[in-house]
């Protein structure tokens, strides 16, 4: 029986988990440091969290990031669902090869290339027919929705493919029309994957720095852009605090998402 894992493997694995978690944990601890010096512990304090509430630049950027995240994630999920249905349910259709190309290429495209190419298109479009006038929240939203829908499609596709078809067939045999079958049978069955897809698109948008930097305009800095420019000035307890809040929020969302997926897997 070889169920035991060699000691060396275990040590390396623990080191790997250490690499993943120690930096973030240290940062979280030091976000409660009273002193301004980052590495000298001067006692426990939550003053840096209070200070965040008075930082207008950060709060405006947070609002923009949330706005972009919510709208782009919603577009991504709807279009991702359509892509998933097209691939799983329609065996042959004109443009299938093209759709599979443009729905998977954004997954591997470097962010700098995606950002640059979109910026060039937006500039060319503005020059030809005046839209979009300048770059701002709307262009970032479009860019995020575009790569988000490809990730959403992958998540929903997996669930749609594994779905138990007998319930749907039964509903159809009993005379259910297509829209009814979709809304009352298929949608509830794949709902966890739709929520997971939305959460994934939202976090991708909320965390994106590179693409947003390319397609943002003056006055439309998102939270990562503001944080990036702050980081270049040096480590500060205030960034520790905002970073801690962001990581805890996203982690909570991931926990909910993976719980939804795992619970369904457990039921099967």
């Amino acid at each position: 029986m070889r169920s035991t894992v060699p000691l060396l493997v275990k040590l390396l694995a623990i080191a790997g988990f250490g690499i993943l978690y120690i930096p973030v944990m240290m940062m979280m601890i030091y976000s409660f440091n009273r002193g301004k010096l980052v590495s000298v512990w001067a006692g426990f304090s939550t003053k840096w969290y209070k200070e965040l509430w008075y930082d207008d630049v950060l709060l405006t950027a947070l609002y923009k990031s949330l706005l972009i995240g919510f709208s782009s994630a919603t577009i991504s999920t709807i279009f991702g669902l359509l892509i998933a249905i097209a691939f799983v349910r329609f065996a042959h259709f004109r443009g299938r090869l093209f759709l599979s190309l443009v729905a998977s290429a954004p997954l591997v495209m470097p962010e700098a290339v995606t950002g640059l190419s979109m910026l060039l298109l937006f500039i060319a479009m503005e020059a030809s027919f005046g839209w979009p006038s300048g770059r701002g929240v709307d262009t970032i939203m479009i860019a995020h929705a575009t790569f988000g829908m490809c990730f959403a499609a992958v998540v929903i596709q997996t669930r749609l493919r594994d779905m138990d078809k007998s319930l749907e067939e039964a509903a159809r045999d009993l005379g259910g029309r297509q829209p009814f079958v979709f809304l009352s049978i298929i949608l509830p069955l794949i709902l966890p994957s739709i929520i997971a897809a939305w959460l994934l698109s939202f976090t991708l948008s909320f965390d994106d720095l590179v693409i947003a930097s390319f397609v943002s305009g003056p006055g439309s800095s998102t939270l990562p852009i503001v944080i990036f420019s702050k980081i270049r000035l040096g480590v500060s307890p205030e960034i520790n605090a905002i970073a801690t809040l962001m990581i805890l929020t996203i982690s909570a969302l991931v926990m909910i998402g993976s719980f939804l997926v795992l619970r369904r897997d457990g039921k099967k």
């Binding site: 980052v38 590495s39 298109l121």
Partner: protein, 296 residues
């Protein structure tokens, strides 16, 4: 009427996303190729489009000047390209070194521990790489946590330079891309049939031999998938070298940014972006080819 609606719905399902991705993903790439073949000029926009629809009809006058320029000043552009590939290659290697034991451990543990460990792997993957790089800076800085500890423990007197070195970049790359390597490895290791391993052990094979002749070959698809998943985004990585690397750590992503925003040379930036795409397509095509080989 009913079947008309159904047909219309079907067309909508296909053509809405197809239209969106065509306009906002494919068209930008076409426009980028167009700009890369255009002549640079001092005006707004700073290029003379190769493909134009104007008063005197459609004209297409491609100029390969930008690619020739890159070729002429190859030292300035080749070095970042080589550097990108070098950093991506070693990052992939180091990720594999840590990911393999982790994936193995997860695959061999019981179901409930497996779930916890998988969530632990996924969580950092979802949180912002920017913030995790920032956390790493807090550790590696000359007055960071690690140096403070080393000085306190009397191991060193002056802070060790860890930031802006290869060490800091590779730490950042591992921190960012480790989950992408672990997941496919785990997927291939968890499918490994225990009875095969038991049979080998019963027949007297040593641990190392079992690993070399059974586990490693059977997990090869996972290794290849993981390496692709890490290597591809690592080549175009932008944030990690910008934050953790020194000024001499030029990578292609950064060069695109500099050419576009600082030098305002849009055609050259577009041309470099296309070269970057070519670098990424090569390993994908190679993997596909390998796949076909192993099937036939």
């Amino acid at each position: 009427m009913h079947s008309f609606l159904q047909k219309f719905g079907r067309l909508l399902v296909i053509w809405l996303p197809l239209g969106w991705l065509g306009i906002f993903f494919m068209l930008p790439l076409v426009e980028m190729v167009n700009v890369s073949l255009s002549e640079a000029r001092r005006a707004v926009p700073p290029y003379n489009p190769a493909f134009q629809i104007g008063k005197d009809g459609i004209s297409f006058q491609p100029a390969v000047d930008n690619y020739l320029l890159i070729y002429e000043y190859w030292e300035d552009y080749l070095w970042p390209a080589v550097n990108s590939v070098r950093l991506a290659f070693f990052s992939t290697l180091y990720c594999l070194l840590f990911a393999y034991p982790m994936a193995w451990w997860i695959a061999r543990s019981n179901k409930s521990l497996q779930h916890i460990l998988l969530v632990l792997i996924l969580m950092p993957f979802w949180t912002s790489s920017l913030l995790r790089m920032y956390a790493l800076i807090g550790l590696l800085n000359p007055n960071g946590v690690i140096n403070d500890f080393l000085i306190w423990a009397g191991i060193t007197v002056t802070p060790i330079q860890m930031m802006q070195t290869d060490f800091s970049i590779y730490s950042g790359m591992i921190l960012t891309y480790l989950p992408l390597m672990i997941l496919p490895l785990y997927a291939s290791l968890v499918r490994l049939d225990n009875s095969v391993l038991e049979a080998a052990a019963d027949l007297g094979a040593k641990n190392w031999d079992i690993f070399r002749t059974i586990i490693l070959p059977l997990s090869m698809p996972g290794v290849i998938a993981g390496c692709l998943l890490v290597f591809i985004p690592a080549v175009g990585e932008f944030v990690i070298p910008a934050l953790l690397g020194g000024p001499e750590q030029l990578m292609l992503g950064k060069v695109i940014w500099t050419e576009f925003f600082r030098n305002r040379d849009w055609p050259v930036a577009a041309a470099i972006a296309i070269i970057l795409i070519a670098i990424i397509i090569l390993p994908i095509v190679y993997a596909r080819y390998q796949d076909k080989e192993s099937i036939s």
